[in-house]
Symmetry: C2
Subunit: 160 residues, 2 copies
């Protein structure tokens, strides 16, 4: 498993997505998750691109495919995926993205390209050292953390 899933370079995306799905299947088995049809499709929709999707975008897709038409349908599926570590919330974009390292139990970090809107995930091995140090010193217990970095990817830099 690579340490960095480069969403920005062109790649065999079908393989890329299938690879994630294959790992998801293992986790589903192992943890006895109930990856129901809505949830499965929601994850697949997220995996179609490396962009973060808003809940309402996902909802549109789900509705078109015969699932419910109301916001909670999408939010529930998305929240479930996030809880199970199969997706992440990208707060800066009010959106969601499939986790590229399902099962790896990591603190996610994201590179977000302001030009093409794509999102790449890195699997940070641990909490940021400086932050971790500060937390330790003052007795703060970190449960979860995430990093969102805005910038521009190589492809877009070349274009502009």
């Amino acid at each position: 498993m690579p340490a960095f899933q480069n969403a920005f370079e062109s790649h065999d995306h079908a393989h890329c997505a299938d690879d994630v799905l294959a790992r998801v299947r293992v986790i589903v088995q192992k943890n006895k998750l109930r990856l129901t049809p809505v949830r499965q499709r929601t994850l697949e929709i997220l995996l179609e691109s490396h962009k973060a999707l808003g809940a309402y975008e996902v909802l549109e897709r789900l509705a078109a495919e015969g699932f419910g038409h109301q916001p909670p349908v999408a939010y529930r599926a998305l929240d479930y995926l996030v809880e199970q570590g199969l997706a992440h919330r990208i707060r800066r974009l009010n959106g969601f993205a499939a986790c590229m390292y399902p099962g790896a139990d990591h603190e996610p970090a994201f590179l977000i390209c302001k030009s093409c809107d794509k999102v790449a995930e890195t699997k940070g091995s641990a909490f940021d050292p400086a932050l971790n140090q500060a937390a330790k010193t003052h007795g703060f217990h970190i449960e979860r953390s995430n990093i969102e970095a805005m910038g521009e990817c190589a492809s877009c830099k070349g274009v502009l």
Copy 2:
């Protein structure tokens, strides 16, 4: 200037806030910022506590003090402060907090206590090493980044 502003321990907050304001005054002078009444008050309101405030909470306060009553009043003041580096947006909380290190040009990192809702800012010296490395390797140019860590502060851990 300390490397970590501990919002969670009891402290002389009036001094703490005044200290920040004093540094802000220097920056305002140096950069010829227009810290108008709404903006100044908005910053002061943020500085009253170590909690992140929603735009509508700020708005209520401003309205009560004779400023405008509509959302853009608060959002404009808050956005200005963020642009000038005098405040930060805490996305996880849909809120804003005064910057504790104005003028220090840093990538902020936050410890957010889930129990008392207070927010402490650390002045990360640079981008997260792992993320920075990934970005470099793939030619991604990071412009801004921030870290938001959820957890529980020492005071709240003691209580629970």
